[in-house]
């Protein structure tokens, strides 16, 4: 005796949040049933394992049928097959597009290609996230990337519009797309201490200030690419380190301002030229795509690590960067104020974010 066929269809589609999460996490039906049993639902509802299995199968089937709609969330609200209340729809979309920070750290900045997908089993083994779930998350990244890549206009809004994602999730996806398209290196050992949210914050800064759309919202260009003109202009900042007088002048201005305000003044003074050189060199190299990729590793290696070894607090860093940025404007022979502000604004907030 066996159940050959077993279906339950409601006029309003019944979806259990908990089962949906299990499905998203990549549990098989039998594993999901086990989890549910352990959760004590049987005692709660006077159910038995059979009922639970039947319910889980049903839900899984529903989710599978819904999945193709979830790939194009806008369709979910005007399809006729499932009658799902709007709040439920929003929940489904949000959860389907949610991702694990551990997973995203692994693929952030990587090319969203078939090759990367093939390596997902390694990612799965490393993070402990089920392969199925890894694939879904990866496919989500890729799908969003594909759609947004071709679109003009602001990145975050495009993502939110097309995938009906809540604000924060939309920003996160913008970061993922931005990292993937610029192929920022995030996987190096030295960068391991950084969380996804650290990167997402930096991505937000870069998108808002360094892309083409950042300066001219009338331009029908994308947020994904850094503003080439700006990168070109960054080379001009080299004067700050190549011109000996300027460098000394800058140093004395900064030191004057810092004196007595910090415990690590001596280290700051000693390191000033090094640090300044690092920051300006990073700026000057950004015109090369390869160096763009190393942006974060450069920041960590050339700036954060020296500061850290000198035991600067983040207050110190903040203080230092503030004066470092402002003092440049007082230099007589320094003309590139616009570029400097645009560059240092982002650098400062990025460094402050990742200095921990």
């Amino acid at each position: 005796m066996s159940v050959e066929l077993d279906v339950f269809v409601g006029n309003t589609t019944i979806m259990d949040k908990e089962v949906f999460q299990l499905w998203l996490n990549g549990y098989t039906v039998s594993d999901a049933v086990k989890v549910r049993i352990e959760g004590g639902i049987m005692e709660e509802c006077e159910a038995n394992a059979e009922v639970l299995l039947s319910d889980t199968m049903d839900q899984y089937r529903t989710f599978q049928m819904c999945e193709r709609l979830l790939h194009h969330p806008a369709k979910l609200s005007n399809q006729l097959l499932f009658q799902i209340p709007p709040d439920r729809q929003a929940m489904l979309i949000e959860r389907y597009y949610a991702f694990d920070d551990a997973f995203v750290r692994e693929v952030l900045g990587k090319k969203l290609s078939k090759g990367t997908k093939k390596d997902l089993d390694d990612v799965s083994a490393k993070t402990g996230i089920m392969l199925k779930s890894c694939r879904r998350q990866f496919d989500n990244f890729k799908r969003v990337f594909k759609v947004v890549e071709e679109l003009k206009g602001p990145l975050v809004e495009n993502i939110q519009q097309h995938f009906l994602l809540p604000d924060q999730l939309g920003r996160d996806y913008a970061a993922i797309v931005f990292f993937a398209s610029n192929r920022f290196e995030t996987g190096k050992k030295k960068l391991q201490y950084l969380t996804f949210q650290d990167f997402a914050f930096c991505a937000g800064q870069l998108i808002n200030h360094w892309t083409v759309g950042a300066v001219d919202n009338m331009m029908d260009d994308m947020d994904v690419d850094l503003d080439k003109e700006f990168l070109q202009d960054l080379k001009d900042l080299k004067i700050l380190i190549t011109d000996k007088d300027l460098l000394d002048q800058h140093k004395s201005l900064v030191c004057t301002a810092l004196r007595g305000k910090t415990n690590v003044f001596n280290e700051m003074e000693a390191n000033f030229k090094n640090l300044s050189r690092s920051l300006v060199n990073i700026a000057a190299k950004l015109i090369n795509a390869k160096d763009v990729r190393d942006f974060f590793i450069d920041l960590v290696e050339k700036f954060i690590e020296p500061c850290r070894s000198d035991r600067w607090t983040s207050i110190d860093v903040n203080l230092y960067l503030t004066h470092y940025t402002n003092s440049a404007h007082i230099l007589d022979t320094f003309k590139h104020h616009g570029v400097w502000t645009r560059y240092m604004g982002v650098i400062k907030s990025c460094i402050l974010r990742i200095y921990h």
Binding site: F8, Q64, P86, A90, G153, Q161, G170
Partner: protein, 1064 residues
């Protein structure tokens, strides 16, 4: 009489990719009606084509308008090869032919393909101009309204109930024609779908003609069925009840509903002497004359009811049931009814005064061998078969002293060439009020008032499930009249035990009552009801032709008897004494017969309390055996006690009086004899009587009985917070919320073990049903407290060793806190509670607080009821209790609504904030594209198998929905196996029903049912096919709170109207 059908193809969306190279589609549309076809232009390279076609006009006969569906085919244009069909839409234009139904069909309809399912949607506009809407056509019957609902539809009143209409049409099944061997599955399926559409249309037209002949204008309780006979053909048959209906204008009903609602209960309170006399006619208009006359007629027939369970095999006759009883020469109603061929009514609930007495269930079956239908235009054999059965039913009814049968239905079960035809109903005596040729004597007064009465009736019914029933138990008249036996006390047609009615103490009532109808609204019950099912499996030898038919007909009486025994036992186990909505289904397979009887058990206050069940061992020789028996007895007693608690079946107060009553205690019990074992073949030995015996005793001298008792006790109790019933609404629950969830569930079991005994099979089958119920309880746990209503089980044996059970039901939540007994008090409490909640969450606490702070909240109510034109101001004080309670509940409903809307509103605001929020650093960019989904979200369409929506008022019936779909696949595994395939298909059927209802302008389907679900699979070939037939009534409903907002609470009207989008 010609008419002009106009269709316009607007656009398509979500079309499938038909051209792999471009990932696009070059779509165009063919619009076909009859033999005329129009085409739109090709809209190249798009999955969302905008055709915006001209109006295609078909000038056709209105006979064709009724018969034919409008057929819309979407195709992909292909230059080099034949155009590929994407899918089709069949539109039944019948709703447009009736002036009171829909006027236009407009909206997105799913494009359906029998192989691929739904493939995108198409937006169409369809209108009909009827040139001559006069009543002189011969061939057509445009304008006759059809309702699946088995009661008088909510916004109509019955002027006259004419009676039974039936028709059947026959055709060859395209699936079995020779040509099927060379055509594609798709072509076959489409031929079949189209044919059934045509046949349904034709059938409806013919029934309509009959209705017009009878002078009616509507068919209520329209039940259409298909018999897929296979080789011998395809039969589409329908039955219904012809009526003359009159629309209650929406405006007046909206404004007067409330005062008139409250009036009956008020009346009762004011004049207690009216209570015992009025027969459910709770109306201000009930004059003493009326009650006197009704009493007079009651007095004439010594009343008391019982059941008759006349199950007949083929050729089996009513035998002893049809005893020499001469039908009582009752009122002239009878003669009026007798003039009719069949005094049958497919209705299951009635306007007050329609039903006088209930006799019991009448039932007839016959086994037939299918033969080829030689002349489809004259389907004489099939007609003759049904005629036979109906005659039998008529006889049975007569034997019960009844002149009419209500809650009547017919069904078939086919296996190979054997077909079981079944009919069942409830034998009753009807009041003459709604009858044609009404008599002109004592009852005359009554028959002159129907309009007045029915107005009240509609109200009461229409608002069932909402606040109206508040205080019902308190004030309603006994409502016991229908329990009084219709037959002669001295000439009881079958052995039954009669007692004096426990309500009025005047007339005789039986000890148990079985019916196929819904519980009358005026009936007095104790506690709550519950679903009771008897399940049975019987093995049968494989046989051919006549031998097979004989074997089946020999088995049938046993099957029915045992089902009946089970029902009886389970009823007693729950401490109840009556069954409503009884539906017995017998399904035939090659090697077994399945029987499933479902009903809703209740405790009718008028009937005596059921005795317990006693177990007796035949040979009480050794002590362990005794021990065993006493253990079991204890278990049973415990279960009864527990059940009484669960269902709140508290023995009514006058039980004490019973002790002094002439009925001796032991005789309250009845004895149950088990049927002989299967080997017994003498039908006449069966003892269908229970009454003669002294005690209700289960003898466990054979293993069967042990099994029986076991089965009795293994029924899974419903988990806390759940109730279930198969009637429209759970007796004993009134305060429904508007949350409903309709569902369909299908399970197929494979019996791997070929050599199962009857007991083994029974156990499996019973477990299957129990597990299904358990699954429902689990799935719907978030709706608790809730009741599964109209649980409709359909069993089938699709193949040897397969059992299929399909269930459609609706889960409805109710409010537990709002107790009915002290409606006012709790109403007050809830109101305050609601307001505190309101303060916390909602912004418009002001207006409600203001009301509360007014020193006498009742005064405002009073004022309002005066405003709404009530003439009851003199007695307004007592009116206020109920109307205040009404208002409380409606406020709560409203608050909930508002809260909901606000929640949604706030979601909206945040999302708009998101949109508008400038990105950090004040970088604002304009959106360059509107959200692609904006403005096109799909309207919500509610579906329910009930004829009503709790908390809502149906304001318009848009026409009948009757759809037939076939789905086939040759890639079963890829579609998720049989479950995946069927799951998708059922979801698609729901989607298509919803879309068609929305296109008619409706927001709900009531009386929805899935009448056919034939599933066939061939996993080896990776194939499966399924046929589904669904029907229902498309309606527009309005939330009661909204109605009130406009009529009773003008101050909040603005809020309500601005929030009016809720229903969409």
């Amino acid at each position: 009489m010609p008419g002009k059908l106009k269709a316009k193809i607007v656009a398509g969306r979500h079309l499938p990719v038909m051209d792999r190279a471009s990932d696009l589609t070059d779509a165009f549309v063919e619009v076909k009606f009859g033999n005329t076809t129009f085409k739109t232009d090709v809209y190249p390279k798009s999955l969302n084509p905008q055709w915006n076609s001209e109006w295609f006009k078909f000038e056709v006969d209105d006979k064709d308008l009724q018969d034919e569906p409008l057929q819309i085919t979407v195709l992909d244009h292909d230059i080099y090869s034949a155009n590929d069909a994407i899918g089709k839409v069949y539109i039944d234009i019948d709703p447009l032919l009736c002036s009171e139904a829909a006027t236009v069909i407009s909206g997105w309809l799913p494009i359906y393909d029998t192989i691929h399912g739904i493939r995108g949607e198409i937006n169409v506009l369809v209108k009909v101009d009827l040139f001559n809407d006069l009543n002189r056509f011969r061939q057509s019957s445009c304008g006759v309204k059809f309702f699946c609902t088995t009661s008088i539809p909510r916004c109509y009143r019955a002027v006259m109930v004419h009676g039974f209409v039936e028709e059947l049409v026959v055709n060859e099944d395209p699936e079995y024609q020779w040509i099927d061997r060379i055509r594609t599955p798709r072509a076959s399926n489409e031929a079949r779908q189209r044919l059934i559409f045509l046949m349904s249309g034709e059938l409806q037209r013919k029934i309509g003609l009959k209705v017009l002949e009878m002078g009616g204008n509507a068919v209520v309780g329209y039940l259409q069925c298909f018999d897929l006979e296979g080789e011998t053909g395809l039969v589409v048959r329908a039955i219904g009840t012809a009526c003359t209906l009159e629309k209650i204008s929406t405006l007046t009903s909206a404004s007067t509903t409330h005062p008139s609602n409250s009036s009956p209960s008020k009346d009762m309170k004011d004049s207690p002497q009216a209570a015992p006399s009025t027969l459910g006619c709770r109306s201000t208009h009930s004059s003493p004359v009326h009650s006197a006359s009704s009493r007079l007629s009651q007095g004439f027939s010594v009343s008391v009811p019982t059941l008759l369970f006349a199950g007949m095999g083929s050729g089996g006759s009513a035998g002893k049931d049809a005893g020499p009883l001469k039908a009582l020469m009752r009122q002239q109603t009878q003669s009026a009814l007798e003039q009719r061929e069949y005094p049958f009514f497919t209705l299951t609930s009635f306007p007050p005064g329609f039903l006088l007495h209930v006799g019991g269930v009448v039932n007839a079956r016959s086994v037939k061998l299918l033969d080829r239908i030689h002349n489809p235009d004259e389907p004489e054999t099939r007609d003759a078969w049904w005629e036979e059965i109906r005659q039998e039913i008529k006889c049975h009814a007569k034997a019960l002293g009844c002149h009419a049968v209500v809650g009547y239905s017919e069904s078939t079960s086919i296996c190979e060439e054997v077909c079981i035809l079944s009919a069942s109903g409830t034998a009753v005596i009807l009041g003459s009020r709604f009858m044609q040729d009404g008599p002109l004597d004592t009852d005359h007064r009554l028959s002159r008032q129907p309009l007045v009465f029915s107005t009240g009736a509609e109200r009461v019914e229409g608002d069932m499930g909402s606040s109206i029933s508040l205080g019902f138990e308190e004030v309603a008249p006994p409502g016991c009249g229908f329990c009084h036996i219709p037959y002669d006390e001295l000439n009881i047609p079958f052995p039954a035990q009669l007692t004096n009615c426990y309500c009025c103490r005047r007339y005789k009532v039986p000890d148990v009552l079985f019916t196929t109808i819904d519980l009358p609204t005026e009936a007095n019950i104790t506690g709550k009801g519950c679903l009771i099912q008897a399940r049975l499996c019987r093995t049968k030898k494989k046989a051919q032709g006549e031998g097979n038919a004989t074997a089946i007909s020999n088995l049938l009486p046993f099957l029915e008897y045992e089902l009946h025994t089970q029902l009886m036992n389970k009823l007693k186990l729950r401490g109840m004494n009556a069954l409503f909505g009884l539906r017995i289904q017998i399904s035939v397979g090659e090697t077994m017969l399945l029987g499933l009887a479902s009903a809703t058990g209740v405790y009718l206050t008028a009937l005596p309390s059921p005795g317990g069940i006693q177990i007796a061992g035949k040979t009480p020789s050794d002590i362990t055996y005794e021990q065993h028996i006493s253990n079991m007895q204890k278990k049973i007693n415990d279960t009864i006690a527990k059940n009484k608690e669960i269902y709140e079946v508290n023995p009514p107060e006058f039980v004490e009086e019973v002790i002094g009553s002439p009925i001796p205690e032991p005789r309250q019990r009845s004895r149950l004899f088990r049927s002989q074992s299967e080997s017994s073949d003498d039908v006449s030995e069966l003892d269908l009587s229970y009454g003669k015996k002294d005690a209700f005793v289960l003898e466990i001298d054979d293993t069967d009985a042990v099994e029986d008792i076991h089965a009795l006790l293994t029924d899974f109790p419903t988990p806390p917070g759940f109730y279930s019933c198969n009637t429209e609404i759970m007796p004993g629950i009134q305060n429904w919320t508007s949350a409903i969830q309709m569902f369909t569930s299908v399970r197929v079991f494979r019996l791997n073990n070929a050599n199962l005994t009857n007991q083994g099979l029974n156990k499996i089958f019973s477990e299957l049903c129990e597990n299904l119920l358990k699954s429902f309880y689990f799935k719907l746990r978030s709706m608790v407290p809730c009741c599964l209503c109209h649980l409709n089980f359909t069993v089938a044996i699709p193949e040897d060793e397969l059992i299929q059970v399909a269930v459609t039901a609706v889960a409805m939540s109710f409010d537990k806190e709002q107790t009915l007994e002290n409606g006012r008090q709790s109403g007050d409490k809830t109101l305050i509670k609601a307001i505190t909640e309101n303060d916390e969450q909602l912004q418009f606490s002001l207006e409600l607080n203001a009301e509360l702070s007014s020193p006498n909240p009742l005064s405002s109510t009073k004022g309002l009821s005066d405003v709404s034109g009530s003439h009851l101001s003199a007695r307004a004080h007592s009116v206020d209790y109920s109307s205040f309670a009404d208002r409380c509940s409606s406020w709560i409903e409203q608050l909930r609504l508002k809260a909901h809307i606000i929640r949604r509103g706030s979601v909206k605001t945040t999302s708009s904030l998101e949109k508008a929020s400038p990105l950090p650093e004040g970088r604002s960019r304009s959106l360059r594209r509107n959200r692609s989904y904006s403005g096109s979200s799909v309207a919500v369409v509610k579906m329910t198998p009930l004829s009503l929506l709790p908390g809502a008022k149906i304001i318009k019936y848009l026409g009948i929905i009757n759809m037939f779909f076939i789905r086939e696949t040759t890639s079963l595994r890829e579609e998720g196996g049989v479950s995946g395939f069927l799951h998708t298909f059922i979801a698609e059927v729901f989607a298509m029903v919803r879309a068609h209802v929305a296109a008619l302008g409706g927001n709900a389907v009531v009386s929805y049912s899935m009448k056919e679900c034939v599933f066939m699979e061939n996993p080896n070939k990776n194939q499966a096919q399924c046929l589904i037939n669904v029907s229902g009534d498309a309606v527009i409903f309005v939330r009661e709170s909204e109605l009130e907002a406009t009529s009773v609470q003008p101050q909040s009207a603005t809020t309500q109207t601005s929030n009016g989008g809720e229903g969409t």
